[in-house]
């Protein structure tokens, strides 16, 4: 009897234990479940839809009927055989390199300036940076458009008044190069605050005794920067560079609005605009999906170098 009672208690205790253990093990998963469900809904499903769409003939006709026609990899073949795609890709890579390079270099210079100036100047500079950062893209485009306006833009006025040349009614949108240069100026201007503030944060982590030691040893400023400061801020630089590549490669709002729909043609496409023109304006959604998947692959390939180096730095740290 006593044995039987003992067994029952043991059993029930073990069962209680098991239930508790399962419950405890399950709670974290239950807690992350909403996040996983949400991510699947907002990321997984659209990517699945995009993939499916890229394998279908889907134009205005199919859009109205909500039913595409499966055509395998035909859309990808069309895009890869399109000369405009390759020209646009090349142009976009050059554009991205220029934009990312300028943003990172100028942003880092602003950060280096920030760390050297007095608190008041720091506050004023940071406020200006935050104001630039806070300006919505569309508003910024409008302001730039006004400033560079052909009829009465302030840029032409100031350049003429300063006797830099006769800029009366100078057309800043006359060539592809100057169109993209204006877009670059706008993107770099808007991109500097993020880089400057991130790099500034990293610079505050550079131990001053290291810098002092290097200076005592007779190292010049640029040598101190490259041998002492740069290795310490490198992880941050890598992160902001790879983020900038992602943003600038797929940029759409600034070039589309600043150059203007009426002036966009295959000779000045960037990838984001090529996708929009082929996919939306021509209402060939299947082809548009194929282009965006190709863009995704290209960006992933470009970021892989940075991601690997970041992981390496992380492991070393």
């Amino acid at each position: 009897m006593a044995v039987a009672a003992e067994t029952t208690t043991k059993w029930s205790r073990r069962r209680r234990l098991t239930f508790g253990r399962v419950w405890r093990a399950a709670v974290p998963y239950l807690l992350v479940l909403p996040v996983i469900a949400l991510m699947t809904a907002i990321l997984g499903y659209p990517i699945y839809s995009l993939g499916r769409l890229s394998l279908e003939h889907y134009t205005l006709f199919e859009l109205i009927r909500h039913h595409g026609q499966y055509i395998g990899l035909h859309n990808f073949g069309l895009v890869l055989h399109d000369q405009v795609f390759w020209h646009t890709l090349f142009r976009t890579i050059v554009f991205t390199v220029a934009n990312v390079g300028l943003t990172i270099v100028l942003g880092t210079l602003v950060a280096l300036l920030l760390i050297r100036v007095s608190t008041w100047v720091q506050i004023i500079l940071t406020s200006c940076l935050v104001l630039v950062w806070a300006m919505p893209q569309v508003v910024a485009v409008q302001v730039w458009y006004w400033m560079t306006n052909f009829q009465n833009g302030v840029v032409n006025y100031i350049l003429t008044e300063l006797h830099i040349g006769n800029f009366f009614q100078h057309d800043w949108y006359a060539t592809t190069f100057s169109q993209l240069a204006l877009v670059t100026a706008l993107i770099v201007w808007a991109g500097i605050p993020f880089i400057a503030i991130s790099v500034y944060a990293a610079l505050t982590q550079v131990p001053s005794d290291l810098v002092e030691a290097a200076e005592i040893d007779g190292a010049r400023a640029w040598r101190v920067f490259f041998d002492v400061t740069l290795p310490i801020i490198k992880p941050v630089l890598l992160i902001v560079t790879s983020l900038s590549i992602l943003w600038d490669f797929g940029v759409f709002t600034q070039p589309y609005l600043l150059i203007g729909q009426a002036h966009i043609h295959p000779g000045n496409y960037l990838m984001g605009i090529y996708l929009f023109e082929e996919g939306y304006l021509k209402a060939d959604y299947g082809r548009g999906a194929a282009i965006s998947i190709l863009m995704l692959v290209i960006v992933a390939a470009m970021s892989v170098v940075y991601v690997r180096r970041m992981i390496k730095i992380g492991a070393e740290g």
């Binding site: 859009l63 002036h263 209402a283």
Partner: protein, 415 residues
């Protein structure tokens, strides 16, 4: 711990319910409301006519509100495409006559053929406009209004330059431009006639004036025709005229800036565009502004002008097609059309036509090729790009026209 899990579940449940009701609510709200997409032209030019039509419609259909949403020519089709995919689209949409074919071919609009007889003056609709709303013998678009392009000019500036009679030929107009330029030397950047460099509507008038065309069809295939000798003569004439007339940017389009804004600021002696441009010439010049028909290179003949226009259509996605057709009926009835005519437009029917400068200009007109993919030529800026190349001298007229022609051929025959 358990409490937290329960709380999370409760929040998730609430979110789910909110999401479900959020997606259901627009449809419920749609009942008793008719959504109409008109272009901003109506908002700036004739809001009173829209209001009058709404009033009439609401009298006939008490309890149905009309929500007029104004759209821009530049992006209204993308927005419309999105509603075709996702729902919640308009019940009535204004379409440019050059935009209709692609959508009719894809089956985007409801067939209005059975109701045609109930629209005022439908037996006398302007043939050009009626054709743009008809596909495969079925009516999908109701003509709304047409507009030809005229020269809007300042009588005082022309008189000051010593121009006694309005130009009756292209050559005479170029001579007058020179006089206008000389007498307004003191105004910096003054254009005798302000024309945006890539205003293809105006430039193509020269092509048609010299007997050319944008594209021709042969054996079921389209061919770009801008490299024909006639078209080249037209493009050369455009370049000559533009150089004598306009100080606009060679790459600008006719919407940025609006020509009447240049005019109202005293920057031009004349502008070329739709007749309704007279609306916005500014109070200062209202009294001295008049209009005339653009002369041809053949003396005493008008130059063929682009016959622009709009149709009203009912998207297949509308759940209130009968109500939508009724609203179109009110908005295109005789009184509305007469009011539109008073604003400088061409009414939709021949029996309403008058003798205004706008209506006289419509006597010789041209229209874009009736190809399913025409809108892709427009959106792809093939013609604008060609004009910019010609005016900036980046390419010769012949080179630019040949390249544009090739592009047009490939786009118009697209799958």
């Amino acid at each position: 711990m358990r409490l937290r899990v329960i709380a999370t579940a409760a929040v998730a449940l609430v979110l789910g319910v909110v999401a479900a009701t959020a997606s259901a609510s627009p449809q419920r709200a749609a009942a008793g409301k008719l959504t109409v997409w008109l272009q901003v032209d109506a908002q700036s030019g004739w809001p009173d006519i829209v209001a009058a039509a709404n009033q009439q419609f609401q009298k006939d259909h008490p309890g149905v509100n009309v929500d007029v949403q104004y759209q821009n020519w530049g992006d209204h089709l993308q927005k419309f495409d999105a509603t075709l995919a996702g729902g919640n689209g308009p019940d009535v949409i204004e379409m440019g006559n050059t935009e209709m074919t692609k959508y009719m071919a894809a089956g985007a609009f409801a067939d209005l053929t059975p109701q045609k007889g109930t629209f005022d003056n439908s037996a006398n609709w302007l043939s050009g406009l009626a054709k743009s709303g008809t596909y495969g013998g079925h009516v999908y678009g109701v003509p709304y209004y047409a507009g030809s392009r005229v020269v809007t000019y300042r009588k005082d500036v022309f008189a000051k330059a010593g121009i006694k009679a309005l130009p009756s030929s292209l050559a005479q107009f170029i001579v007058d431009n020179k006089k206008l330029a000389v007498s307004n030397r003191s105004t910096k950047g003054f254009s005798p006639v302000y024309i945006a460099g890539t205003d293809w509507y105006f430039a193509m008038s020269f092509v048609y004036d010299y007997g050319g065309a944008i594209a021709r069809t042969h054996a079921g295939k389209w061919y770009g025709a801008l490299d024909s000798p006639q078209a080249l003569a037209g493009l050369n004439a455009y370049k000559r005229f533009w150089m004598s007339a306009s100080k606009a940017s060679k790459t600008s389009d006719e919407a940025h800036p609006a020509p009447y804004d240049i005019y109202s600021q005293g920057g031009a002696g004349a502008i070329i565009g739709p007749g309704w441009y007279s609306c916005c010439v500014g109070n200062k010049y209202k009294a001295t502004t008049a209009q005339f028909v653009m002369p041809s290179h053949t003396p005493n003949k008008p130059m063929p002008g682009f016959l622009g226009g709009s149709d009203l259509a009912v998207p297949v996605t509308s759940s209130q097609k009968a109500l939508a057709a009724d609203w179109i009926k009110d908005f295109t009835d005789t009184s509305s059309e007469k009011a539109l005519q008073a604003k400088g437009n061409i009414p939709n029917a021949t029996n309403l036509l008058g003798t205004s400068v706008n209506e006289r200009a419509a006597a010789r007109s041209w229209f874009v090729p009736a190809a399913k993919h025409w809108v892709d030529v427009e959106n792809g800026n093939i013609l604008r790009n060609m004009l910019a190349q010609i005016l900036t001298g980046k390419l010769t007229v012949r080179q630019a026209a040949a390249s544009a022609s090739d592009n047009i051929t490939s786009v118009l025959n697209g799958a």
